[in-house]
């Protein structure tokens, strides 16, 4: 797995290092795919964090595992399985709660999360069943769950780019009302914004995004790319457009450094991506805490002077 063995090691000269990495076509594809996935995941994750739907997002991310396992069992391309299961899971999560829990009072939140959790566990169990039925597949489980950036073909990159373009285009169309509905659902509903339909469309888009991203980062680590850049960006600034852009930049930076680190060491990319993203998040929180403390100090100081 240590690809640096085939060439020169890390030289502390970014230009020659990148040239050396990009001498391998599969690494170029990995960077292309990683960038596409990072942009899409950051944008979707930004809305997910804003809407407090991280449990649903995590469930959708996890659902791609049975999708890939089922596709492998049936002998069709894993990409189809990813998309079918993720979008299907999004529809189930979007459709059932309100329909079945109509009139539910205080325990509605608990019931909804119980349902989401059950869907997640059942679909994961299905994935395990598919794996068990498809004997000799066990070695592939780890790369399905934890991702692999090797062996991404140019066709895959094209598909990823097209799907990401479609998803981002759809999000751009519904972006403004979705932002409104996410920030204040009741007022938006009062103004005639179709809150419910928006929520369904958003979940489907989130499903498509997780289906994309799981092909690179693996099922279990998509969530890191969804939640952490967005959470870090929202800690740093409250302005929507700026924090959205910041989330994309953080996601791309984390993915690229993760790819480079994984190239030069024997450890998997998932570990690096989550660790770098978490470091950025912790730094962002620390900066936020520091700036509010300084701001409060200034206000108190000004008050004392006045």
């Amino acid at each position: 797995m240590n690809w640096a063995d085939t060439g020169a090691g890390w030289s502390w000269n970014p230009v020659t290092d990148l040239q050396q990495i990009w001498a391998f076509p599969f690494m170029v594809n990995a960077f292309r795919a990683g960038t596409v996935v990072a942009v899409l995941a950051a944008v979707m994750g930004w809305f997910m964090v804003l809407r407090r739907q991280s449990f649903a997002g995590h469930t959708l991310a996890v659902v791609s595992f049975p999708g890939a396992a089922c596709a492998t069992l049936l002998g069709i391309g894993a990409g189809f399985g990813y998309f079918a299961f993720c979008v299907g899971g999004a529809l189930v999560i979007a459709a059932i709660p309100r329909a079945a829990l109509s009139g539910a009072g205080q325990s509605a939140g608990g019931q909804e999360s119980a349902l989401t959790g059950t869907v997640q566990a059942f679909l994961l169990a299905c994935g395990f069943l598919f794996v068990a039925l498809y004997k000799g597949f066990l070695g592939g489980v780890n790369s399905l769950l934890f991702g692999s950036f090797l062996g991404i073909t140019t066709v895959q990159v094209t598909v990823l780019t097209v799907v990401a373009g479609l998803a981002l285009g759809a999000l751009a169309v519904i972006g403004r009302p979705l932002l409104f509905a996410s920030v204040d659902e009741n007022v938006a509903a009062g103004r005639g914004v179709p809150v419910r339909a928006l929520s369904v469309v958003f979940l489907v888009l989130l499903g498509a995004a997780t289906a994309e991203a799981s092909q690179i980062t693996g099922t279990l680590l998509v969530f890191a790319l969804l939640v952490m850049p967005a959470a870090a960006a929202q800690q740093l600034t409250v302005r929507p457009a700026l924090s959205l852009a910041l989330a994309v930049v953080i996601a791309i930076a984390v993915t690229w450094t993760g790819l480079i680190a994984a190239y030069y060491s024997p450890y998997p990319i998932g570990f690096y991506v989550t660790t770098f993203a978490f470091a950025v998040y912790v730094l962002a929180r620390a900066a936020h805490t520091l700036s509010t403390a300084v701001g409060r100090h200034r206000v108190v100081g000004a008050g004392a002077v006045a």
Binding site: Q106, A114, A125, A224
Partner: protein, 279 residues
């Protein structure tokens, strides 16, 4: 009933029953307090704990319990009042999962003698692989968890249903919340041995969700949740025994999901719901 002549089956039945009982009791409060996402996070932490213990050469179970209980205490210390909580939990556990991947690589590459399926076993469970000693220990620990939940059930119920009033009545709400999280952590570590870290969420959420759907009265729902969990565990084990193609973890999850689906779709509840506080 030739199944009982196989020692592996009786071990699985003993451990499975105790674990399901604990998961049903803990799961009820988890759903009531809308903390299912916390259970989800703990289940991933369990994976990292188990693999870290394997890499360091300790018993897998000590890693499980250490990681889940520690994570539960950290979550309790972070508090559950601020709105940012879901995001904090999500960021923290996805990083811990990343660490788990690191340990998995370390384990599979550094130990040539180690079994390559250890990671898969932790993730998806291997209840039919328990030895007599492991099963008895698991049952004993699950029994302690059950007793602890029952001991704090009354104040915990009060604190979960109406936190403000409970605080005013001098119920130690924060301490109870922390103790409950530790119990959830211990329960997650237990359930990992039965159905695996990825699937334990179903064992926590599905029976409790179904029980809350079927009755409004808290103690009935608590008992029903535990009863359903045990029944689902038995049915799953039997199903898996008679249809060997089905892995036991899948069979248990399938039964649990089916029961929950029936409860969700089949039971029509009156629109005006009697709140829990009045029951």
């Amino acid at each position: 009933m030739s199944a009982f002549t196989h020692p592996y089956f009786t071990h699985a039945l003993l451990a499975g029953t105790a674990i399901a009982l604990a998961a049903g009791l803990v799961g009820y409060f988890l759903v009531l307090r809308a903390q299912v996402f916390t259970g989800d996070a703990l289940s991933h932490v369990a994976f990292t704990g188990a693999l870290a213990a394997l890499v360091l050469g300790y018993d897998l179970r000590s890693g499980l319990f250490a990681a889940t209980v520690l994570f539960a205490v950290v979550l309790g210390a972070l508090g559950r009042r601020s709105r940012a909580d879901d995001i904090v939990i999500g960021s923290l556990f996805s990083w811990i999962l990343g660490l788990g991947v690191f340990f998995l690589t370390l384990y599979t590459t550094s130990r040539n003698t180690g079994n390559g399926t250890a990671g898969v076993n932790v993730l998806f469970g291997s209840i039919f692989g328990l030895s007599a000693g492991q099963a008895q220990l698991a049952a004993a620990v699950a029994g302690v968890i059950c007793l602890a939940v029952l001991a704090v059930a009354r104040p915990l119920l009060f604190a979960s249903v109406d936190e403000a009033v409970a605080t005013a009545r001098r119920v130690p709400v924060r301490l109870l919340g922390l103790a409950f999280l530790v119990l959830v952590g211990a329960c997650a570590a237990e359930a990992t041995q039965a159905v695996g870290s990825l699937l334990l969420l179903g064992l926590l959420a599905a029976p409790a969700g179904a029980a809350q759907r079927l009755t409004d009265r808290p103690y009935h729902a608590l008992a029903l949740s535990a009863g359903l969990a045990v029944a689902e565990m038995w049915a799953g084990l039997a199903l898996s025994y008679y249809v060997p193609q089905l892995p036991p973890s899948f069979a248990i999850m399938a039964v649990a999901t089916a029961v929950y689906a029936v409860a969700l779709v089949g039971v029509r509840r009156p629109r005006a719901l009697i709140g829990l506080a009045e029951a």
